[in-house]
Amino acid sequence: MSEVTWGTVIALALWFIGVSSGAYRLSALASRKKEDPGWAKVGLTSAFLALITLAAGMGFLVLDLRQKFRFWYLLLNLNPESPMSIGVWFLSIFGILCLCHLIFWMPEPWRKRLPLIGGWSIWNNWRIHGYVAKFGMYVAIVVAVYTGVLLAATSIPLWRNFFLPPLIFFSALACGLTCGTLATMSLTRKIGDKTLFLPLRFLQSSLRPTLVIMLALTGGFLILALVQSVTGVKTHLISLGWMGFLWWGGAIGVGMIWPLINSFRAEKSFQARAQLTCWITFIGGLVLRWVLLYAGQI
């Protein structure tokens, strides 16, 4: 209502966690195709990305606590009724998986340099990597959905919307896919590099349904909010105030419709614009969360 309890820091935290889960999924998919050099690059980069964005996300979560040094109390308690508690436990498990997953992906020489664990032979076991990747995918799903449920299981009328958790999940997916690909592209410094052909093609074909579903969920979200005549929807989201501008122009226009249009282009043309498409989808995800957070609270 008057005071905003959760602000930009939480928006960043939710976004980074979402990105992390998406990136993990990308890297997990890649782990089945290690033999393809493009996928291999994507796999390693996004495994790395998953870990650091997760760290950033959890860092922002802790940063938002008024008692930052008590963050570990979260690990002394499990409240099955609290999405935050469930989420934190899953985040912790996810963190460990991310780390393992990254080590699996690491090239041998790098890995060797890791103290203690670097020499374990388990890292060369493809089967185990596969299991970790698979299991991690499901944990990643829970983690991404958690960032939506965290908002949805409150008394804030705007968030208390059944379309919110899936919307946030799909947005996290889009962000993770684009961010992982983008990072790989930037690191290889060869845009349109033929080696990335397959991952980019995958990006195009996966982004298309993801964005379509996101738009549909957004529509559902708005309709449900309007039907329930939630206060603030009209004033903040539907109307064209600065908040409405960010919502329609930023989160939906730039973050969903524009990349969707791009994804319908011819493959060549899409790949040429891949970097831009990634950027806008990725940033759009942040704007979406930011607007939802603030519009719910003011």
Binding site: M1, E3, T5, W6, L29, R32, K33, D36, D64, L65, R66, Q67, R70, F71, Y73, L74, L76, N77, N79, E81, S82, P83, M84, S85, V88, M137, Y138, I141, V142, A144, V145, G148, V149, L150, L151, A152, A153, T154, S155, I156, W159, R160, F162, F163, L164, P165, P166, I168, F169, F170, L173, F197, L198, R201, F202, S205, S206, P209, T210, I213
Partner: protein
């Protein structure tokens, strides 16, 4: 609907309140909260036209819900429902995440910048456990706030919060909406909705993940064609 156990109640008789602010300051002194952080708050309203104008007031704090959304939300167990119906806040455990603020359907919890944690009314358990009155009740100038330690109250069911088994009951003169109270009395949506929210998120998410795996496989096939 009567309460099964002996549960603590505070009843607010709106017709007696004069907006003297005594309960608010009493609460602040007892809880050591700085100016501006009011765990109890008095609001005023005006309706009608001169000379038939009416001014009326409500003094409200945490409702000590039967099913407290704040306690459901708290990840560290800093909010505990006691068997006497009160919902306590263990300050030394609070990490100040603010989740209870989002969860509470009455917007009761608030951050206290002086302590860097959340604060909410604790029913003055430190006083009632010693047989004393809650601070706000003790200092209320008009007996608009009355403490019923045994949970037996001589009021009718239609009073705000009684049917829902809240532990702060409001005996009002005007309609509840006119006092800014949410009608109907809101439920603990954190617990009520959570399962459905998880399902709403997880089912499509798992479905989509399978689709993605398929897609990745198909794309590999493509390359083989090339």
């Amino acid at each position: 609907m009567s309460r099964e156990k002996k549960e603590r109640l505070i009843v607010f008789y709106a017709d007696r309140c004069i907006q003297c602010h005594s309960c608010e300051v009493a609460c602040q002194l007892e809880n050591n909260t700085p100016a501006g952080i009011r765990l109890r708050r008095v609001r005023n309203f005006e309706k009608g036209r001169f000379p038939e104008v009416k001014k009326f007031y409500i003094s409200s704090a945490c409702f000590h819900c039967n099913s407290p959304a704040c306690a459901s939300a708290c990840a560290v167990g800093a909010l505990v429902k006691r068997s006497d119906g009160t919902v306590n806040h263990l300050q030394h455990r609070c990490i100040g995440c603010g989740y209870c603020i989002q969860a509470c359907p009455f917007k009761v919890p608030q951050f206290n910048p002086a302590q860097n944690i959340m604060r909410k009314c604790s029913f003055c358990t430190q006083r009632i456990d010693r047989g004393r009155l809650p601070a706000c009740v003790a200092k209320c100038t008009t007996k608009a706030l009355v403490y019923h330690p045994e949970g037996k109250i001589p009021i009718e069911l239609q009073d705000y919060g009684e049917i829902e088994n809240l532990h702060m009951i409001y005996k009002l003169v005007h309609k509840a909406e006119e006092y800014g109270l949410p009608v109907p009395v809101p439920l603990n949506t954190t617990t009520e909705n959570q399962l459905w929210m998880w399902l709403a998120g997880l089912l499509p998410a798992i479905g989509m993940t399978f689709v993605l795996i398929r897609m990745a496989q198909k794309i590999e096939g493509d390359k083989g064609d090339e």
